[in-house]
């Protein structure tokens, strides 16, 4: 319950942010993977996290989803500081994550993966596989209508099918905050546009989305704001309407913060 510091968000007053990551740091050995980063996210907004490989984007969101323990910093959800020590805590706060590696249990089927850790039970306390399969068919039908391989272990599925299982798992439980680490990496053009539609739909439901994405065109199409990271530090944060694609690329490559963006710690002094 630390008293609020000066507001950092460049966006118009939209009330309290859904998530604030304040002063986050984490080091592995001597390497500062994330170095005093500040990021926030409002309801119904897509925040793009950009940067080179190794810039610290994935690490930062893994702290939010409970996979890593931060060294310093605080996580504030709806104005209240919360403790997230493991993935279970994150899920309790409505944070769902689609990991870059998908994090699927390869040897069980799609329904088992969708409900992993939150299985539906019968009144006898046993697994209700039939009910889980039924709802898996429903949600997969929405995401990927051609999907029919419900009985097979997910390791036998194609990359795109596996990706849709991972996405379905994240949206199945009414997340408030969605973290997507390169959700379209394994998808073809048609499925990519389906994910785009899905993101629009989720935004309208008031869900906040962190999106890690390398394709600059997708970023400008899908995101409301972008936050660029370099060497673990935030270069700057900007509304996509206030910056050009070239300026964002400049932030990613050179760490040069354009006038339209709010500079962070990592902004190069030119």
């Amino acid at each position: 319950m630390a008293t609020a510091t000066a507001p950092k968000a460049p966006a118009a007053d939209r009330g309290t942010p859904l998530v604030e990551l304040r002063d986050m740091s984490i080091a592995f050995g001597g390497i500062k993977a994330v170095d005093h980063a500040n990021v926030d996210l409002y309801p119904g907004e897509v925040m793009g996290l950009l940067g080179h490989n190794g810039a610290g984007k994935s690490t930062l969101i893994k702290i939010l989803s409970g996979a890593y323990k931060r060294d310093t910093g605080s996580i504030i959800i709806n104005g209240e500081e919360v403790t997230i020590a493991n993935p279970r805590d994150a899920k309790k706060h409505g944070i769902e994550t689609i990991y870059q590696t998908l994090a699927l249990a390869d040897n069980v089927d799609a329904a088992a993966n969708l409900y992993l850790g939150r299985e539906l039970l019968t009144s006898w306390g046993t697994l209700d596989d039939v009910a889980m399969e039924a709802s898996a068919r429903k949600v997969m039908g929405r995401l990927n209508p051609n999907f029919r391989r419900f009985k097979e272990p997910v390791k036998l599925l194609s990359g795109g099918q596996r990706q849709s299982v991972a996405i379905a798992r994240a949206i199945l439980f009414n997340a408030r905050i969605l973290v997507m680490d390169e959700p379209t990496a394994a998808l073809g053009p048609q499925e990519t546009s389906q994910v785009g539609e899905l993101i629009q739909q989720l935004k309208q439901d008031g869900i906040g989305i962190f999106l890690i994405e390398h394709d600059i065109h997708n970023v400008f199409e899908l995101c409301d704001r972008v936050c660029v990271m370099k060497n673990g530090q935030v270069v700057g944060t900007a509304n996509v309407s206030d910056v050009s694609k070239d300026e964002v690329l400049g932030m990613i490559i050179a760490g040069k913060c354009p006038p339209g963006a709010t500079p962070g710690l990592g902004a190069a002094n030119l």
Binding site: Y99, T101, A103, A105, L116, E119, L127, V130, A131, F147
Partner: protein, 450 residues
């Protein structure tokens, strides 16, 4: 089989969307497996078993003039001998599925047996009096709890202290054997409580023909109920159903196997000496041509079957089982999905320990004593049974029925070699080679399947 499949593809292609998921080209054998949802590996194991059984029988008949293998007496004994390893193998499946190993089960078995023997022979008679009806129950509980505590301790070291399971249980292999020795200064403790001894089998440790039929019929009803409720559930959600002929076939074959097993154990009579003893004790006059009293199911076999059913239920129908397999498939993903993987690991080893305790009951009851070297090398037979039964050492794959069948295969080999007069050295060579060959075949099978 693949020759046939080419002709079936001439049918007009269905919508491309439908063909995308399932292979449209498949032979009748594949179709059969798909319809009945029978694992090809299961059929392979049953085939191997039939081969071993008839092979030993024929060898005996041709070389020694008489085959002993396919007699009720031998098969009944085989079932009893399989129990101890079979019970432990069901737990080893979970351990190996989560990419761990437990090398300490043999030593733990020796230790648990010693603890139980001391409890029922040295301690309890002092307080309750010799032959008190509670003694055997308390002894069993003590044995199972001892096993569970040791297992939980191993699990804690592995899950919460990060020591590899191989090392923890290798240490356990030595430590618990030594502890068993220390407990009784190396003495053999015998005889155990007379009720306790029944759990090891023998003429009195079997349930007779009437109750065997009762159990057989109950199991058949169980199979029918499972098939019917499964079908109803799938109908409720309008999922694709198994063809009706496949349901019938599963039911008929399942019930047939069970009733056949009942007939088999009922056709093995008590030995003449035991019958005379029993008749004298109960004032029955034995007719001229002898009295036919069936053994029926041996109690240790029933224990193994009950454990098998319980463990199958645990692995396929509960959260715990689902987590075990998910951890085996991808430990990191399981953790990220919010599963408390350490706690599950600890529980797996505790369960393994409890099963070792139960197995120690069977093993020491069968021997009517606890010796210091009881269970020596059992860890290798247990691991071999699980692996021959299709449990993958790289994790994530394994079945309970497979492990029990694996134990049966191992025991069949040993029994068979004893019956035809191979000496111990050759037996070891054969069992070792079979283990390696089985895993090799399994590797080939898996490569093909992918």
């Amino acid at each position: 089989m693949s020759g046939n499949s080419e002709t079936t593809t001439t049918a007009p292609a269905t919508t491309p969307a439908k063909a995308g998921g399932v292979n449209a080209v498949e032979g009748p054998f594949t179709r059969f497996l798909r319809a009945t949802e029978i694992d090809a590996r299961l059929l392979g194991m049953i085939g191997a078993l039939i081969l071993i059984w008839t092979g030993f029988h024929l060898y005996g008949e041709i070389v020694n003039g008489i085959g002993f293998f396919l007699t009720p007496r031998n098969l009944w004994n085989l079932s009893v001998q399989t129990s101890s390893i079979g019970i432990m193998a069901t737990g080893m499946v979970l351990v190996i599925v989560t990419r761990h190993i437990d090398l300490s089960v043999g030593s733990m078995l020796g230790f648990c047996a010693m603890v139980m023997a001391i409890t029922q022979v040295w301690i309890l008679p002092e307080y309750l009096g010799l032959g008190h009806p509670l003694i055997w129950i308390i002894a069993i509980v003590v044995g199972i709890v001892t096993g569970a505590i040791i297992g939980a301790f191993h699990g804690w070291l592995i899950a919460y202290r990060g020591i590899p399971a191989f090392i923890v249980t290798l240490g356990g292999l030595l430590a618990w054997r030594g502890m068993a020795f220390l407990l009784a200064r190396g003495e053999t403790i015998s005889p155990v409580d007379s009720t306790f001894a029944l759990l090891g089998g023998g003429p009195y440790g079997a349930i007779g023909s009437f109750w065997s039929w009762v159990i057989g019929v109950v199991c058949c009803i169980g199979i029918v109920v499972v098939i019917l409720t499964g079908r109803k559930q799938r109908q409720r959600f309008e999922f694709p159903l198994r063809p009706v002929w496949a349901e019938w076939m599963l039911g008929v074959v399942g019930c047939g196997l069970i009733l056949g097993f009942v007939m088999l154990v009922n056709s093995y009579p008590w030995p003449v000496g035991i019958v005379r003893q029993y008749a004298a004790a109960n004032n029955i006059t034995v007719p001229e041509d002898g009295l036919f009293i069936s053994h029926g199911f041996a109690i240790p076999v029933l224990i193994m079957i009950a454990v098998g059913i319980f463990m199958t239920f645990l692995t396929t129908r509960t959260r715990f089982g689902r987590y075990v397999f998910a951890i085996g498939g991808n430990p990191e993903a399981a953790e990220l999905a919010g599963i408390n993987t350490r706690w599950v690991t600890l529980k797996i080893f505790a369960l393994m320990g409890a099963l070792v305790g139960l197995s120690a009951v069977v093993a020491s009851a069968r021997l009517n004593s606890a010796t210091n070297n009881l269970g020596t090398l059992d860890e290798l037979y247990v691991i071999a049974a699980a692996v021959i039964g299709g449990t993958s050492l790289s994790g994530g794959v394994g079945t309970i029925y497979g492990a029990i069948l694996g134990a049966l295969v191992m025991q069949s080999l040993q029994t068979g070699m004893v019956l035809i007069g191979f000496d111990a050295a050759i037996q070891q060579v054969v069992v070792g080679s079979v283990l390696v060959a089985a895993v090799w075949l399994d590797t080939i099978y898996r490569k093909r399947a992918n």
